[in-house]
Symmetry: C2
Subunit: 233 residues, 2 copies
């Protein structure tokens, strides 16, 4: 019997998820003092070492502040939280959070547009060729899963062609979000219909026309956004 939602096996992961949930849902308010590590460990039924591993990750995300001889404090994730918070924020307790998901796809669309414009100026001949091939492959993708992989490959190549590390890393974060739940995020539902848009974007990049590239990609991203929003409800 396969498990529906693949949950983390490590004890450390479970503690992490629990605390994360508590922090993001506001059950621990910003500025508030967190219970002792010893207390938290006892409550979670784990050792202090195990709890500690979870705390390190939370601190890394900017969600808690921990100073040696003092109590741990809850930080405001809106002010100090890193981008990886968005993944856990979009999935609060089972279903998707429609608002957050909307933000993700809005930001994604805007950034992909800028990415396309940069790529149109900087792409190498090889990158242009690969983009063309990937765009062409979308139209005859076997199933939706294959289309999804092509979509991912296309935008990864685009980010690479744009030659800006920041956008590359941001795209990594967003990708990890919709790869963890690919089955519920049909960005490539009607890929036969969307295929021409990939082709158009690839051509604009190849012809070094930033404005056209931005427009084509923005349009494509908007279509995907509509599809996702239609489902996540």
């Amino acid at each position: 019997m396969p498990r529906a939602t693949a949950e983390p096996r490590r004890a450390s992961d479970q503690v992490f998820s629990g605390l994360l949930e508590a922090l993001l849902s506001g059950r621990y308010a910003p500025g508030e003092k967190l219970p002792t590590q010893r207390t938290l460990a006892a409550e979670a039924g784990v050792t202090m070492g195990t709890l500690r591993e979870a705390l390190q990750r939370l601190e890394q995300m900017g969600l808690i502040e921990v100073r040696h001889g003092d109590a741990m404090r809850v930080r405001d994730w809106r002010r100090h939280g890193g981008l990886d918070v968005i993944a856990h924020l979009a999935l609060s307790s089972g279903g998707f959070e429609p608002g957050v998901l909307g933000d993700v796809f809005e930001a994604r669309g805007l950034m992909l547009g800028e990415l396309a414009a940069l790529a149109a100026r900087r792409r190498s001949p090889e990158q242009a060729a690969r983009l063309r091939e990937l765009a062409a492959a979308v139209s005859h993708a076997a199933d939706e899963r294959a289309a999804q992989r092509l979509d991912y490959a296309f935008f990864t190549e685009l980010a690479e062609a744009a030659a800006n590390l920041v956008f590359v890393l941001i795209m990594n974060s967003i990708r990890s979000l919709y790869f963890q739940h690919a089955e519920r995020l049909p960005v490539t539902a009607a890929h036969e219909e969307l295929a021409p848009l990939y082709v158009e974007a690839a051509r604009a990049v190849e012809q070094r026309r930033p404005a056209a590239a931005r427009r084509a990609v923005a349009l494509l991203a908007n279509r995907q956004r509509e599809q996702v929003e239609a489902v996540a409800r």
Copy 2:
């Protein structure tokens, strides 16, 4: 005798920094097997528990892959790294990496532009007022440090007005980068000269003119970028 560069005191932090450096510099190549936790701990002169805390953070960043009974593997940070990697990437071994820093400010400028456009459509009356006040305050800031704080507050408010969580979080990451080394990143060197641009941007947002807001902020960001690039050399 005060220490020039405030280094982390926790043993766990030092181990983390060391491994991070090794991973980002390519001293451990992607796909390669990492030494055993026991080995790494022995080499670093710490306990396995301490080493483990560092590993958790690296895994959280997407830099390593660790599976229970198997050896740990190095992941390609270009493909799986999160946005927080950029901070450590921009500071490889002492000085700033000019290329990376350029990418950061390019991306920052583009995103702030989009942010301004969104804010012009969605800002509340209160947000418009606060932006106006912050912009006005820039012109008579006491010193550069004060100007820097106002700059930070201004763009935070802008991100808030844009009402998109993704951009808020991205700005958090970028801010933490240039707050850790504020003294070396003079984004507000000639703040008397830049002040009018803040005012113009605030006005465009208040008057709900997205295009004008984007233009003003993009111009402002570009000026800051030039100032930083002039210094980081």
